[in-house]
Amino acid sequence: MALPVLPSPSNFLAVALVINRSRDGPRFVFHYPPHVGPAQCSGAKPDGADDVDIDDDDDILLGRATRDGLKRSTSSDPDAAELSHWNHEDHLVTESGTQVVPWEYVAGFPTKDLENILTPARAYHKKLFQISLDPLLCVSYPVHVPENGVWRNKKKQQQQAPRKEDADAAAATDADASFRPADRRASDVDQIEARDIAKAAVKTVEETEDKKSSMTMFNLVFILNPKKHEAKDLVDVMFFHIIKKINKAYKYCQQRSDFVWKESKRILALKDKAREDKRTMSSLWDDILSTSSLAASMQDLYDAISRNRIAALQLDTPEGLVTHSVQIPVPFHISDLPQDDSDDQRGLWLTTANSLMGDDAVDEPDYVDKNFALLPMTDEKKIIAELQSDADETTLQMIEFVRHCKPTLSFYQVGQQSSNILTPAQVRKFAQHFIFWRRAIAIPPLHARDMYIVSPNCDMRRLPQAAAQWARQFPLSPPLPNFLAELSVAPRPYKLHCPSKAHRPVYMTMLAWLMRGGWVTQLCTFAYVVVWPEIVYEVEFAFEAEEIARAKRAQNRGGEPRSVEGEGDFSSTSAGMAALGDPAVADFGSGFLPLLEDSPDLASSVATLRDLSLSHSPTLARTQQHSRVSDAGHSSASPTLLITQPTDSDQLEVLWRVTTNASTTPAEQAAEKARLERIADKTARELIERATAHARKAVPVQTAHPSVNSARHLAGISPHIILDAKKATGKESLYLSAIGRRLRERGNRSPRDGGDGGLRPGPGTNSMMSSSQRTSSSSRLFEHQHTKSDGRGNHHHVKTAVGGSSSKEGKENGAANASGGAAGVKDGKDWDERVANAWPLFWKYFNGRSALERIALQEEMKRKDAWNLLTAMSEYLLCVRHW
């Protein structure tokens, strides 16, 4: 998710309320912040971002035009020069005696003019109204009185006070609904009804009077000053998340208790009085903000939104307090490094974990539960204190939830650990609530065995402050720069940074702290299945054998291979093979004719596919070869058979021809027969040809390590990568099952060499080494370069073997070794069995998008087990590591 263009004090200048009245016309009610200076023309922005596109000469001419206009402006208007020195605090009196009131100039425009242009016609009712007054951009969502002229909605008064938004995230996300109790049209009907009833009940005179002179529309205008290229995005974001929602909230209050109009009258009265008294602007504004909750809500709105926080509004209507919150949701993570050095995305957590939630996760709610933990953004105690301030049943449960939540526990585990006080649905709901209100983020559960690296997106500008804060929070731990340096040198499981097991809890808290600040990110492993040439060849070979066998079977049944072709997915019979009349082949075939009396073709060929893996011995292969050749011989003899016994379909065809075309002469029939004969002959020969070609091919031989099999017949084949093993079909699924068989039989084949077990998915694990170097290099793969600082800035490059059997990690990984090497003797077979059984289970993670680190959680396995299984499969995996 890309970061939206966010409002800031530089592009969000002010918020203003303008109303229109039926008798007295428009009025500019209030604006915040009080001093909105004339915005600089976009051409003169300090960063010079947009100044490129205004012609110089046009500017000169325009400048003249503007000045002409100003010079002749009405004498009551203050001098431009005078205005520029004005502090927007005190009242000015011009020479002609006109009073210049500070709050009657907003962003360089007189409010007299603004109030006119910012009260659009009814056509804009509940629509986006957007007007740019160079350089300002005013965006709003005007709300007009219903056509019948009555705001009040009698029926609505029975409704209970709106739900407290804070207590219910769902309601907040769907705020529109909460403020628009019924469908728009329905509510209009209601209003008409209500009026009719009111009429019948004889409306009071006051009410009709009120209707005549009252407000006909209000418009909360957002005054923006965006950069040109971001204007549309900013407007979209503001309109959708803020402007629309806030206006709906106001409309709700207006409909229920005439709130906006009453507050406006109060503010206007204060302003009029202050104008007489020549009060300073700041004292008036203080006054207004303290007396009017509408004005105060505008202040809250501006202060929060311009800093991109959550604005919590409290509208003190006669019918009780209405609270409402709005915010622009911002992603708390990004999946890739930002394009250029854009500063606003610096420091965001870098991960691909959440981008997955979009597609695959929708159908499994389990996915989120099992894969994510809640990381509070502030202190847990602080959140609990916040919640305790108003306790009801929901908040009590939430406190319970917060107590149980740990960044190391998935939601699923939280549900279990709270001894089922919390249902999974509750856990999910609360988590969403905290995330929505930016009190927490969802992360894959932290684990000491996982690797964490310094995030390339971390915000180094915050390092000095962060280091100081870190030192306060973790006084006994290494200083932040050192710790980050240690993490950044070479990726290692986090627990290796921890001096002892006793330190583990503190170190996990440190990790959570680092995650929260976006300083680190998890380094994950993503895998694809690699099919080595040996396997490719083996599958192809078996496949071909089966196809030939099938063709032969069809022939034996007297059918044409043509009819069989349709059955197979991969019909590869090449009709272009010009095998016709090749005597050599025929002779070759007929030479073996005596051998196939019992015609074992079907059985043997099927065996080649099914039992190929069992047949290692060359002798067996050779016998198979013989039988295959003999098959070919057999088929060469079959044409005669074919003619005498045409297939059913052929018979039918002939019959059909005979019956429908009675005029067929015997000569024609003979010609037809001859034609069929020729076709049959040709296919038979082709089959022979193929069988022979197949027989000449080298027989697949299984080696212990297909990745390094450099036999000559494999030279032309390059390894095949299965992009998504879960979606594999056709040949790819054959490859997968062939690999599965290999895994199962690995123990039978040969005593395992220890090096292979230690192969762990990681940098360069993907076995690409030649056979001679294989064993030696597999341990080298774990060598990472360490740069150690010796304090005075003297840096040595030290090669440390992290892997192999020399270090802790190695031992851990060596668990596979242990079961492979040592245990290989006694229960290697069991282990292979397990690996082979896990193989189809793990397929779905081999798609380059699912981190292997999460398999354990997802499959509810022990992490160690999952890793060992993966290690055993690693020969067939292509791994890449990123976040």
Binding site: G69, K228, D336, P481, P491, F526
Partner: protein, 514 residues
Amino acid sequence: MIQGIFYARFFPQEGYMLFGTKIVAQSPPGCIVPVPGVSKPPLFDFSVLSEYVIPRQAFCNRYITVNDPEGKYSVLGFPVSIRSQRYDRNEFIFNFGIVVECEAVTVADQIPYERVVRRLAVTFAEMEKQNCYLSQDPARYHVGGSGGKNAEYSQYHQKMQQQVLLQQQQLVAGGGGGGGGGNIYRRPIESLLEIVKEDLNNYGECMIPVDDANTINMKLFPHHPTPPEVKGWHVPVAKMKFSEVVDPTWDLTLQRVIAHIDGVSDVRRIAFAADVSLELTQLALRHLLYYDTILLLDMFFFGACYAPRPAVADFVTNLGGIVDECANYVCIVGSTTHHSPSSPTSHHLSSSSDKLPSTIGSESLGDVLTSPGGSSLSNGGSGGGSHRISNYMLIKLMTTFCVGKTVAEWLKGHVDAGFDVMRFVDVRRLVQFGLIKGLLYRVHKYIVSKQYLAALATGQARPLGAGGDSLQRYTDGRHTFDQIMTEQNLTDGEIMDRLKSFPAPAGDLTVLYK
């Protein structure tokens, strides 16, 4: 695309047929207010928008845009108010406006029209001031009432006597119209607007003589965001062949700088080689960056570290043939077989459409590789013992980069595994390809001094304070080694040596990679 263009005027005389804001000319006919003979309804209800087309005095003489209630169109205008004694009520207000679609694919589509609107306003304002071009328009034009019930055809002369002649006329659509009123011939505004609209929509520019003395020249310029700053340690890589487009009229500095863009040299080096100051070089390159003709990478070192980004998945899946593209770019045609003399030019072969740098001279690789070579040109690469390595191998190479592993170590790993990378692949190009396509990122090296950080946190940082080292200002973790190298003219090793004598307590400095 301009959907409509119009000329609106404010008529001050109350009681006449023409009063208030009226559309005097529009193109296509009926786009703003209905006219007889055009069945297509107007784009929007002009009566709603008219107050923004001719706004109050306070908003005149500035660029104003407003959307229609349906949110389909934006009206871009520049209401001009000219005050003069010669006008009725001492004021003449007009606006030449353009209607464009709101829902245009990108914002940028609306930005270029601002200049058009401004230019129209300025030109006509000036012509009006000089010889009352608009107020004394002799041509016959029609005026559509905003209500649109009965369109009035009228000819309006505003002379000293301020008389209005109403005259039934048939509509002259963008046409000759002939001489009316015995004045010298000039193009009616309606047809002028039509030309402007058509030319801008079709050619993106127009050049229209309005009368003997005035011509309107306009061009739509695409709006580009401001490019990031060019730093001394960036390495510019050309996205096009500058040598083919450059001509002697180009800026001289730019010409000198362009000659040294080879995809290897950093900005500082280019400035030195071109004998141009660093600032000017950066400016020139930023200009090229603005037009998206170069991209910036960083310096390549065998001691540097690169790591995959999530987009590396596209490489594994060979999305859009990216691996083949990579092969063409990085595979070395063995010097033993043949050396194609035309290789530098024919690099361009497939890369004009995509974003591949194509102008890197093969000779520049000489210091890196023992055998200088161009890139493999043949797509298949299977014939004649070519050294096009398999897609699998390229994927393998690309995915084995990792955090904490330098290129040299990566290389050694592959060589030890039996694959002599250098013989088949230009490593620098491979890394460059990965960086350009967003498959890899550079893991930068930083130096951090805790002492300095603490000073910064308390706000009492004193860069280059007494006894401070000139390297101190780089020790806040925000400056990469690349920057220190280029700015201090030191090598990595020299920096490390200098840091040994850095005046700080033991253990103060740490090296950070990110």
